[in-house]
């Protein structure tokens, strides 16, 4: 660790991993409710469990991004973070807000209250005061990192990362606008949801991946930057108008079907480019970095993002296909592999790279970490496959033959059982990862072995 203020990242990573554990346990519970629907139906209804599962995901991913920024910006800008105190204050606001959401929702407090009650909008359910808190925290963050970068060295990686993080914060402002017309509500709501994950988050992903490649493979910065710019251009070109693929059936004009189909099909390109980038860098790289776990997560991230976000996204993005598959388990299959591949793996990659440095014990227990990679990845891929099968059958029975929703659900129950099993594997993998990050101290891998590659 070159800069003292990089330590800020440790606390952010800790919070992120805590929420990660809660998120996957919530997912496991939701998966169980699918096979035993009456579980906790009075105490903790499914919609609340699902909300906690998706929202804790988003919150821990963003917390991880913030931590990653606090870790890599000092190194890139070659100076300490502007204010350590502000960084901790920002985290405190986010944690209080998150707890506020959970308590408000689980106990359904302040129902209907403008400021304190939930808003009942999917993914943007937070009470107003929490939304305001998020904005304040984001402003503190942006001020803090922008000041650091402005006073320090500017690199392509920090420029793109800041562009992504500024975009993330500004687009969140759309969550305050809540028109009573449901079609309009959805139209603006996608400005947050879509333009995050298929827009500015891709910039964050590309820049963090570029940083990891730079450190892990030793390829020239010049080469990494060229790739980075091309990836970012492709992501924004396809992603912004790709928003149209959410406008097929919400009451917006029909031309969105073609705009959405054409541009969102091209969203595969940046994900393919990121995968090509990661592998080409590893092939070209001369450095044999001892942190094999971080490299494994980086390559896994790029690969699973291409399949989860790129291929599984394209699977149902054309409006002719989506007419039948909309809102079936196909969507759930895509959602799981896309988020896991792109953003979960990315966070776990930067954790794997940064934690040994932050805790001053590199390299340490890599075997457990790598085992957790294979557990989580194989569990998630299996889950994606079974949900894809379930979704295909559901589409045919429900949308083509016209069977009733609940009758169809009964017929795909076997897939829900298998999904629960694969979810269990993912949870075990996640807990193992967290254990491997924090607990073992003594298993030092011989450095000498890595200096002479066995070729």
């Amino acid at each position: 660790m070159k800069y003292e203020s990089q330590k800020i990242a440790l606390v952010y990573f800790a919070v992120a991993m805590g929420l990660f554990a809660i998120q996957v346990l919530g997912g496991l519970l939701a998966g169980w409710i699918y096979v035993a629907p009456n579980t906790l139906s009075e105490l903790l209804p499914f919609n609340i469990v699902r909300m906690l599962h998706t929202n804790s995901l988003i919150v821990w991913l963003i917390t991880g991004f913030f931590g990653a920024a606090y870790f890599l910006i000092p190194e890139e800008a070659e100076r300490e973070i502007h204010s350590t105190k502000l960084a901790y204050l920002q985290l405190l606001i986010l944690v209080v807000g998150t707890l506020g959401v959970v308590v408000t929702y689980v106990f359904n407090l302040f129902e209907g209250n403008f400021l304190l009650g939930k808003e009942g909008r999917e993914f943007l359910e937070q009470p107003k005061w929490v939304k305001a808190g998020i904005v304040v925290a984001a402003l503190i963050f942006l001020y803090n990192v922008s000041m650091t970068v402005l006073k320090g060295k500017k690199t392509a990686i920090t420029n793109i990362l800041l562009l992504g993080l500024w975009g993330l914060a500004l687009l969140f402002l759309f969550s305050f606008y809540n028109p009573s017309n449901l079609a309009l509500d959805k139209q603006y709501w996608w400005y947050v949801v879509h333009l995050w994950v298929e827009g500015v988050w891709e910039l964050i992903m590309a820049s963090i991946l570029a940083y990891l490649m730079l450190k892990l493979t030793g390829v020239d910065r010049e080469v990494v930057e060229k790739w980075l710019y091309v990836i970012v251009a492709a992501a924004l070109f396809s992603g912004i108008l790709g928003t149209g693929h959410h406008y097929y059936w919400i009451g917006t004009p029909a031309y969105w079907q073609w705009i959405g189909s054409i541009f969102s099909s091209l969203e595969v390109i940046p994900f393919f480019a990121m995968m090509a980038f990661a592998f080409v860098m590893v092939w070209k790289g001369r450095r044999d970095h001892p942190n094999k776990a971080a490299l494994l997560w980086s390559l896994g991230c790029a690969t699973l993002a291409f399949f989860g976000a790129g291929v599984w996204g394209f699977l149902h993005t054309l409006h002719g296909v989506n007419y039948y598959t909309h809102g079936t388990q196909i969507t759930a299959a895509h959602g799981h592999l896309a988020f896991f591949g792109a953003y979960v793996s990315l966070n776990l990659a930067i954790f794997s790279y940064a934690m040994p440095i932050l805790l001053n014990r590199d390299p340490y227990n890599q075997v457990l970490n790598m085992a957790s990679f294979w557990l989580m990845s194989s569990g998630m891929v299996f889950m994606t496959f079974v949900l894809t099968f379930a979704g295909t059958i559901q589409t045919h029975l429900q949308r083509v033959l016209g069977d009733y929703f609940m009758d169809v659900q009964d017929q795909v129950a076997i897939f829900y059982w298998m999904r629960f099993g694969s979810g269990l594997v993912v949870v075990i993998g996640a807990l193992l990862f967290i254990y491997a990050m924090w607990v073992p101290r003594k298993e030092i891998i011989e450095r000498g072995a890595t200096e002479t590659p066995a070729e």
Partner: protein
């Protein structure tokens, strides 16, 4: 480690080529979709197409190709350090771009007067989408040409001309498919 690949052999900015490639993909896919949907209703598409103002579109083709020629000339002048001539050519190219937009605007106004909108027939939805997107690029191109006439480094003019030729090329692809072929 130096990257030695065909990409380095491309003249001008790499990112401009990425943009050009992406634009060609979008318009190419759009035209393919248009032709695919036309197969489902050939007579309806032919009838709708007959409402188009072909003379105006042909005039616009001549206008845009001439404008592209001027942009290419501008780069040549700038390379020979004849800056004033280069700037003049760029401004003239931009002016022709505006002529294109005026003719296009008259065409749209004519359609509107006839009560034709994107909802009239699938043909018109594609017509408005494809030519509308293209017109938006012409507008952007005019601004780019004026921008590089002001900031007239050779590299800038090269990038501006690259963009303008792409706009030109796309129109030359759109014109026969949308206006002429039935």
């Amino acid at each position: 480690m130096k990257q030695t690949s065909g990409i380095d052999a491309l003249p001008g900015e790499l990112l401009m080529w990425v943009l050009i490639f992406s634009e060609l993909l979008v318009f190419g896919v759009g035209l393919l979709a248009f032709m695919a949907v036309r197969l489902t209703d050939p007579s309806g598409f032919a009838e709708a197409q007959s409402a188009l103002y072909r003379t105006g579109a042909a005039l616009n083709t001549a206008v845009l190709v001439t404008s592209g020629f001027l942009a290419a000339k501008a780069l040549e002048y700038r390379r020979k350090d004849r800056r004033a001539q280069a700037r003049l050519s760029l401004v003239a190219a931009a002016a022709l771009g505006c002529v294109f937009l005026i003719v296009k605007g008259a065409e749209y106004a004519g359609k509107a007067a006839q009560g034709i909108s994107y909802e009239t027939h699938p043909f018109f939805m594609f017509y408005y989408l494809l030519t509308g997107f293209h017109a938006a690029h012409v507008l952007a191109g005019v601004m780019v040409l004026l921008l590089v006439a002001w900031r007239d480094e050779t590299g800038n003019i090269e990038a501006g001309a690259q963009f303008w030729h792409m706009v030109d090329l796309i129109w030359v692809l759109l014109f026969p498919v949308v206006y002429l072929l039935g």
